[in-house]
């Protein structure tokens, strides 16, 4: 096999893995096939979060933060063990965000600065590439202390989150806009044709209906910034920031596979630098850096003299003009210690703020089956899979509802979508166990066991039609899904403004029965600020956030 063939295999591998990743995100979706579905426990036909379980940084981060490796995360060894022997093949061959950066980097600006000699210069090792290691050290000690922040920058959760909550909904919105515009033109065939094209594409690419996510501006900005920076610095993200790349670089310390440089045949044309992805100094006369190389093989394939060869146990003659390659990473001890210490300090810093407990947001309603907040923040990687799969568009990325610490973790916004009582898909797709996988029975409860509660509903009597305006309504009672209903009615006689007696049924809430699903809030006809609303108190996962004495007593015994 010639090197050109191997390079083509790498290109195919990038396309295939990107395709698989994208397909898995698309399939993180509730699709209504009527036949062959077990309606008492609806589940997805594919393990849609499997890609995230192959991510070694997810595994390491959650392991440090929790002390255990969640089910399925053992798969990450499939990436990590070969990396120990080969180097960062994941970055060059598999990583879907890496591939995206690779492709976009190819579309370079036409300015001279970024072409020819300028491009060669830009692909030499730069000192900013150290940042990713310091970031990695910072994130892992923060995880060790108890706050898992790797997901913010870990490429697989980052891409899953960006595609699921920003890119796909934006595409949907654009498609709807285009169809609407085509129809408004009033030209023959155009409107109908656009609708037909939409109907053709929608089943594969778009959701059942347009979803709206909270807080996507920040997610979108980060994602767009990562992509746009490629126009200025080739793979800036992969070279300088990516903590997973840093982790894999560290693990390739003892790699037995690497670049062999033959000084004698080299004529210093520098073509090896022209398409170098990792900026790892493949040219002769500099130290090749194992920890930076993505194994894209461009340097070897581009070398007209055959001076460069990737092989097992590479030999390298060290001469004055050609220093040996190095497996070491270019970081200083002081800064490493400082990064580790800063990571450790992050946890007490964040917890000394008020958002975690002292002044926790009453609207911080977590998905059903979520574990207690402290443990939740040590597990959630903000991949957004729960938000994407929720059939009701109920789950959203937070902004600051759970403090800076919990940015982009899931929150349930009942006014946009409520929690369907028998749906358990969010727990099914959670790759780290931040949301437990519940059975339908565990979620709705039975004679022996209480249901899973995510909060408690309250009435705003100043806005409720029967309470404040002597008008009949009771939609909240109609929608209340518990049996018996947590919302009950009392016939009451009230006077309208003319002093005429009006009989209305006024809703009351029984906190013993309420599960906080938010169906009442969703259905309330006072749509802008519902007259019945859910807050997190009473949620099953928080013994310290209970409303009822009996539940507190139960917790104690």
């Amino acid at each position: 096999m010639t090197i050109a063939t191997v390079r083509n295999l790498r290109r195919i591998s990038q396309v295939v893995f990107f395709g698989v990743f994208f397909w898995l995100i698309l399939k993180t979706n509730f699709e209504a096939a009527f036949e062959g579905v077990n309606i008492s426990d609806i589940s997805l036909p594919y393990p849609v979060s499997i890609a995230l379980q192959f991510d070694p940084l997810v595994a390491l981060g959650t392991l440090l933060a929790n002390g255990t490796l969640h089910k399925g995360l053992l798969w990450s060894l499939v990436i990590l063990i070969p990396t120990i022997f080969l180097g960062r093949f994941f970055c060059g061959w598999i990583c879907p965000l890496g591939s995206l950066n690779h492709w976009i980097s190819e579309v370079k600006s036409e300015r001279r600065k970024y072409r020819g000699k300028g491009k060669i210069q830009s692909n030499r090792y730069k000192s900013y590439q150290k940042i990713k290691f310091y970031l990695f050290f910072f994130l892992i000690t923060a995880a060790l202390a108890g706050t898992l922040q790797t997901g913010l920058l870990d490429p697989l959760p980052l891409l899953a989150r960006s595609l699921g909550t920003v890119v796909l909904p934006t595409m949907h919105s654009a498609a709807l806009g285009l169809v609407g515009w085509a129809k408004s033109l009033g030209l023959p065939y155009v409107g109908g044709g656009a609708q037909r094209a939409y109907d053709l594409i929608a089943p594969f690419l778009l959701n059942f209906r347009l979803v709206h996510f909270h807080g996507i501006l920040t997610i979108g900005l980060l994602f767009v910034a990562i992509l746009v920076l490629n126009r200025v610095f080739t793979r800036f993200w992969c070279r300088g920031i990516c903590p997973l790349g840093a982790m894999l670089g560290l693990f390739s310390r003892f790699a037995i596979f690497g670049l062999e440089k033959d000084e004698s045949s080299c004529d210093h044309c520098n073509l090896c630098l022209l398409h170098c992805q990792g900026a790892d100094n493949p040219d002769i006369g500099t130290r090749w850096r194992q920890a930076e190389c993505h194994l894209c093989l461009n340097c070897q394939a581009d070398c007209p003299q055959g001076s460069l060869k990737f092989k097992f146990f590479p030999q390298q003659e060290v001469t004055v003009k050609n220093p040996a390659s190095t497996p070491e990473i270019n970081v200083t001890r002081r800064k490493t210690v400082a990064s580790l210490a800063a990571g450790l300090a992050l946890y007490p810093l964040l917890r000394s703020g008020d958002a975690f407990k002292a002044n926790s947001n009453p609207r911080l309603i977590r998905p059903p089956g979520s574990i207690a907040e402290e443990a939740f923040l040590a597990r959630c990687i903000r991949c957004g899979q729960c938000m994407r799969v929720c059939p009701n568009n109920a789950l959203h990325p937070t902004l600051l509802e759970s403090g800076l610490e919990g940015i982009w973790t899931p929150i349930l916004i009942p006014a946009i979508g409520y929690c369907e009582p028998t749906c358990t898909l969010c727990g099914e797709v959670c790759p780290t166990g931040a949301i437990l996988e519940l059975t339908t029975t565990q979620k709705v409860g039975d004679e022996q066991n209480p249901p899973n509660r995510i909060g408690t509903a309250f009435m705003d009597r100043g806005r409720c039609l029967p309470w404040a305006m002597a008008k009949p309504c009771i939609v909240c009672e109609e929608w209340c899904p518990t049996s018996p209903k947590a919302i009950y009615l009392k016939d009451e006689t009230v006077l309208d403004r003319n002093g005429v007696e009006v009989r209305v049924k006024r809703p009351y809430i029984d906190p013993e029965l309420c599960t906080g699903c938010g169906a009442c809030e969703f259905a309330c006809p006072v749509t802008d600020k519902p007259a019945v609303y859910v807050t997190a108190i009473g949620e099953s996962r928080a013994p310290d956030r209970q409303l009822l004495l009996e539940r507190n007593l139960k917790q104690l015994t």
Partner: protein, 317 residues
Amino acid sequence: MKRREFIKKTSSAVALAIATGGTALFFDRRESSRYVQPGRKTRSFEVAPKPSIPQITLSRDEDSIAALHKALDAVGGTERFVQPGERVTIKPNIGWDRTAAQAANTSPVLVGEMVRLCIAAGAAQVVVTDMSCNEPRRCFLRSGIGEAAEKAGARVIIPSEDDFVTMHLGGKLLTEWPVLSPFVNTDRLINMPIVKQHSLCSCTIAMKNLYGILGGPRHQLHQQIDQSIVDLAAFCRPTLTVVDATRVLIRGGPQGGSLGDVNIEHTVICSTDQVAADSRACEFLGLSPSQVEHIVLAQKAGLGSMDYQAVGYREIA
């Protein structure tokens, strides 16, 4: 300034001025906004009454399909309601994310059989649809109606925003409202409600089931629920009403959840008078028709008869 330059500049300026003015004139609208009169459905889906045939029939049988057949045959059979080549829309209650046993939605067995009967009678197309309350895909799936109707040969439509047309309903309360288009663009309409308790209007059976043809801010209708039900029943007059009283939700309506709230009645009612159908069916909930405000109002509006015995009532064992 040279002559050439003068001509070039002024002609360009004139051309730009004409283009600007022309664009403005092209898009100019004299009226501030144009009002488009929504369509109105004047044709009723009803069939002509036959004095020899009862208007309401009831059958009890543990086999719900047999009960449907008996009640349907006694009211004239499918052939009376569906002519070959006609489009039929069936409106079950698929409002809630509940299973068949929980009695919040119409029985999938009855819906499937009704689809089969319509196709056997020569219907060109049978559509089964409803505007669910809960997440519609889950409602269609877990009620079992999606699968049963599809297997029987119906086109199952889970409504999307494009499926609505604004209609002039001509009611006291309901004037203009978005209506699901399969309930407008059809030849025959079969309403298939289930009998359930409802806290605001006592019961939700046939006329209340028609809420499911509406889009828009439906939740506000509760403020005048009885009048809105009657307005809707006046606008939408089904060919046939088939009441599923095989299971009756006596408490916790309209979505129930507990099997303890369900009475097993093994009964199917067929009627060409939706007021009579509601009047008979509400008795399963221990109500008399005169206690139900919207039934009383509907009779006053001339939509049908509360006294179902008087319009020809037959029970078939």
